[in-house]
C-alpha cells in the first residue's frame, strides 16, 4: 500500500483507455468525496459506462491513476476484489439472478465470507436475516421475497439490484441508469431511495433522465468524448455552451 495521496474516497487522474484506436476515455480526472452523491451525464459514447468499468476493475486503463480511499490502486485488483473493498455497482440493464428468489438474491449479496468453505457449510445467522428483512423493507419487496427474481417487473428488478448493493454494504455505489424504463412514480421513489442512501455512502449516478437528475439535486459532471466537459450544479452545466453543443451535435 502506498502512502495516502488524497482524502477523497475515489480519485481518478489522467485516465485514458482506447479500444482498437478509439479513445473511449481520454485523460479523465474525477474525485468523489466520502458520502457524496454525484450525477454523471453525457451523450452516448461519452465514456460513462467505460469509466465505471475502470473503477470496478472490468477494464484496465492504458494509463492514469485510480485510487480508492486515497491509497488503494484499483487498477491492480479484479472485480471481485474491488467489490469486497466496498464498491458496489448497478448495471445499466438490471442484472439480478433470475433463477433465485428475491430473498436469495439479497442473501447472496450480503457482506460476509464468500470463500468456498463458508459458502458450502455456513448457515445464515439471525443478524444477517434481520438485515435482509430491513433491506426488503427498504426496497419494498417484502411481499415478494419468495418469488423468483425473474417474475419481478422491470422497476422491481431495478430496485432489487439496488437492494443487493445495499446488502453488500459498500462505501461507494455506482448506479448506472437506475430509472430507465420506470414509471414517473417509480422514478420519484427511486430518487428518494438514493438520497436516503447518500450521506452514509458515496453514490455515483449515471442517468439520461434530466428530471430525475433535477430531483436528486446534486453536483453534476458532464462527460463528452471520454473526458470531463463541465462540472457543477445542473443549472450551471446546462448553461454551458460546450455542453449544449456536445448534446446537440454540430
Amino acid at each position: 500500500m502506498t502512502e495516502k495521496l488524497t482524502d477523497a474516497l475515489l480519485y481518478l487522474d489522467g485516465v485514458s483507455v482506447a479500444f482498437d484506436g478509439f479513445k473511449a476515455i481520454n485523460d479523465l480526472s474525477l474525485t468523489v468525496e466520502h458520502g457524496e452523491m454525484r450525477a454523471i451525464i453525457g451523450p452516448n459514447g461519452a465514456g460513462k459506462t467505460t469509466m465505471m468499468d475502470i473503477i470496478t476493475g472490468k477494464t484496465r486503463p492504458d494509463k492514469g491513476t485510480v485510487l480508492f480511499e486515497g491509497e488503494i490502486d484499483l487498477t491492480r485488483h479484479d472485480e471481485s476484489a474491488i467489490a469486497l473493498l466496498g464498491i458496489g455497482r448497478k448495471f445499466q440493464k438490471p442484472t439480478v439472478f433470475e433463477s433465485h428468489t428475491v430473498q436469495d438474491n439479497l442473501e447472496l449479496a450480503l457482506k460476509r465470507d464468500h470463500g468456498i468453505i463458508a459458502t458450502l457449510f455456513h448457515d445464515t445467522s439471525k443478524e444477517q436475516k434481520d438485515r435482509i428483512d430491513e433491506i426488503l423493507d427498504e426496497i419494498r419487496l417484502t411481499e415478494r421475497r419468495s418469488h423468483l427474481a425473474a417474475d419481478l417487473s422491470h422497476g422491481q428488478k431495478q430496485w432489487l439490484e439496488i437492494g443487493m448493493l445495499l446488502a453488500q454494504d459498500p462505501k461507494l455505489l455506482l448506479v448506472d441508469e437506475p430509472v430507465a424504463g420506470m414509471t414517473d412514480a417509480e422514478t420519484v421513489e427511486t430518487a428518494k431511495l438514493l438520497r436516503r442512501i447518500a450521506g452514509e455512502k458515496a453514490v455515483i449516478v449515471v442517468e439520461h433522465d434530466m428530471t430525475f437528475i433535477r430531483d436528486l439535486d446534486v453536483k453534476v459532471t458532464v462527460l463528452a468524448e471520454g473526458s470531463v466537459l463541465a462540472e457543477g450544479s445542473l443549472d450551471h452545466v446546462s448553461a454551458d455552451e460546450r455542453v449544449i453543443e456536445s448534446y446537440l451535435g454540430r
Binding site: T56, K58, D78, E79, S80, A83, L84, G88, R89, F91, K93, T95, V96, F97, E98, S99, H100, D104, E107, L108, A109, K111, H114, G115, I116, A118, T119, L120, F121, H122, D123, T124, L148, A150, D151, M164, Q168
Partner: protein, 384 residues
C-alpha cells in the same frame, strides 16, 4: 458444519433417490445370486452387467451436470476424466494379473513384454496396491482438472472457447494414449483382467458386488451433489451460470468457484471410470474420443440438465435405447438415435425431467408451470 451440509443435502428428493439406489444395490444382486434363473424376478447376469455400466454412465453424467447444468461450464472433455479414472483402475487390475499373463512375466503386463520393455515405467509403481490406485482414481483426474481449470478460469476462458479447449484436451490425451511409447498399451489399452481385491472379476458374486458398489457410489455422489446444490455455494454456482459478471461484482471469486466445481466433478467422473473398467473388462484410448464426451452431454440434455435426477435418467434412457436399437435395428439405429437428439432439443428443451415436472406443474395450475420453466431454463450470459 458437516451436519448442516448433510441436513441440506438430504432433502426429500435426495432421500428418495438415495433409497431407490440403495434398494437397487441390494435387490438386483440378491435377485441375480439367490433367485433361480427361471424365477420371473431373476435378473440375468448380462442384464446386471449392462445396468452396472449404465449406472457408471449415470455417475459420469451427474458429474457433468454439476458443472454444466449448475455452473454453465459446458465441458466437451469430461470423458477424459472418466478415462483417466478408468486407466488408474485398469493399471491396478493389470498389476493383479501377476504371473498369469500369457508370457508369465511376474511384473510386466503382457503388452510390455512383447514390445520388449525391460522394466516397469516409474508411473506404474504403486498400482499393485489398491489404496494407491484408489487415491490415484481421485487425484489424477482431480489434478488434471485443477491445472486445466486454474489456467482456463483465471484467464476467463468461457463459453464455446472453453468447450472447444476441453475438447482439445481430451483429443490430445486420446492421441497420447494411442501412442504405444506411453506405456498404457496403445490402442488395445488394458484388458484381460483377472482379479479385483483378490476376487475373480468374472465371478458372478464379484459382478454383483461391483454392481452394488456402483449403485452405492451413485447414491453417495447424488447426496454430495444435493448438498452442494442446496448450499449457498450451489446458489452461487447458478449465479455464475446466469450472470457471471454480476457474481463477480458482488464479490465472489468466480474462478475459485468454477475451479472447485470442476475439480469435484472431475473426481466424480474418475470414480465412474474406475467402476466402469472392471465391469466392462477393458479400458482403451477410445474412451478419450471427443465423440464420447459429446455423448455424455447428450445424455445430460436428454434427461434434463440443471436437475440432479435428470442426468441419471438421461444416461440410462439413452444407453438403454442404444443397447436395444443396436440389436433390434443394427443398420438403422443411428437414424433413431440421431432423431432422438434432434427431437429432444426441439420438443423437450428441458429434457425428460422438464417434461415430467412441467406436466405435474400444469396439473397444479398454470402459474406454477411457468415457475418450473423458469427454474429449469438456464439463461446463458452469452445470449444477452
Amino acid at each position: 458444519m458437516i451436519t448442516g451440509f448433510l441436513f441440506r443435502a438430504l432433502d426429500r428428493k435426495a432421500i428418495l433417490v438415495a433409497l431407490i439406489l440403495l434398494a437397487i444395490a441390494v435387490a438386483v444382486p440378491v435377485s441375480n445370486l439367490m433367485l433361480p434363473v427361471s424365477h420371473p424376478l431373476h435378473v440375468p447376469t448380462h442384464i446386471m452387467a449392462l445396468f452396472g455400466k449404465y449406472l457408471t454412465y449415470a455417475l459420469l453424467a451427474l458429474a457433468l451436470d454439476l458443472v454444466w447444468g449448475y455452473c454453465g461450464i459446458l465441458s466437451l472433455g469430461h470423458g477424459a476424466f472418466f478415462a483417466l479414472g478408468g486407466y488408474a483402475m485398469g493399471m491396478y487390475l493389470m498389476r493383479q494379473i501377476g504371473t498369469r499373463g500369457v508370457y508369465g512375466h511376474p511384473i510386466l503386463p503382457d503388452f510390455m513384454v512383447f514390445l520388449n520393455w525391460k522394466e516397469l515405467p516409474w508411473y506404474w509403481y504403486g498400482f499393485d496396491q489398491f489404496w494407491f490406485a484408489a487415491l490415484m482414481i481421485l487425484l489424477v483426474p482431480g489434478a488434471l482438472a485443477f491445472v486445466f481449470g486454474w489456467f482456463a478460469f483465471r484467464s476467463r476462458v468461457s463459453g464455446v472457447y472453453l468447450s472447444i479447449i476441453t475438447q482439445a484436451l481430451t483429443y490430445a490425451l486420446l492421441l497420447a494414449f494411442f501412442r504405444n511409447e506411453m506405456g498404457f498399451g496403445g490402442n488395445n489399452g488394458l484388458t484381460d483382467f483377472k482379479d479385483i481385491l483378490g476376487y475373480s472379476v468374472q465371478a458372478q458374486t464379484t459382478r454383483a458386488s461391483l454392481f452394488a458398489a456402483t449403485a452405492i457410489a451413485l447414491a453417495i455422489a447424488f447426496v454430495i451433489c444435493s448438498g452442494i446444490v442446496n448450499s449457498r455455494f450451489g446458489k452461487v454456482l447458478v449465479c455464475v451460470r446466469d450472470a457471471e459478471s454480476r457474481t463477480r461484482f458482488i464479490g465472489y471469486r468466480v474462478e475459485h468457484i468454477k475451479l472447485f466445481a470442476f475439480v469435484v466433478s472431475a473426481m466424480m467422473a474418475g470414480v465412474a471410470g474406475a467402476l466402469y473398467v472392471p465391469q466392462v473388462g477393458i479400458i482403451n484410448p477410445g474412451e478419450f474420443a471427443p465423440a464420447n464426451s459429446i455423448e455424455v452431454v447428450i445424455w445430460t440434455a436428454v434427461g434434463g440438465r440443471g436437475s440432479l435426477i435428470g442426468p441419471i435418467i438421461g444416461a440410462i434412457a439413452v444407453n438403454g435405447g442404444k443397447s436395444y436399437f443396436t440389436a433390434a435395428f443394427p443398420e438403422f439405429w443411428l437414424f433413431a438415435l440421431g432423431g432422438l437428439f434432434v427431437a429432444t432439443t426441439l420438443f423437450l428443451p428441458k429434457g425428460i425431467v422438464g417434461l415430467v415436472s412441467s406436466g405435474f406443474a400444469k396439473l397444479r395450475g398454470p402459474r406454477e408451470a411457468d415457475r418450473v420453466e423458469e427454474t429449469l431454463q438456464p439463461g446463458t450470459e452469452a445470449a444477452q
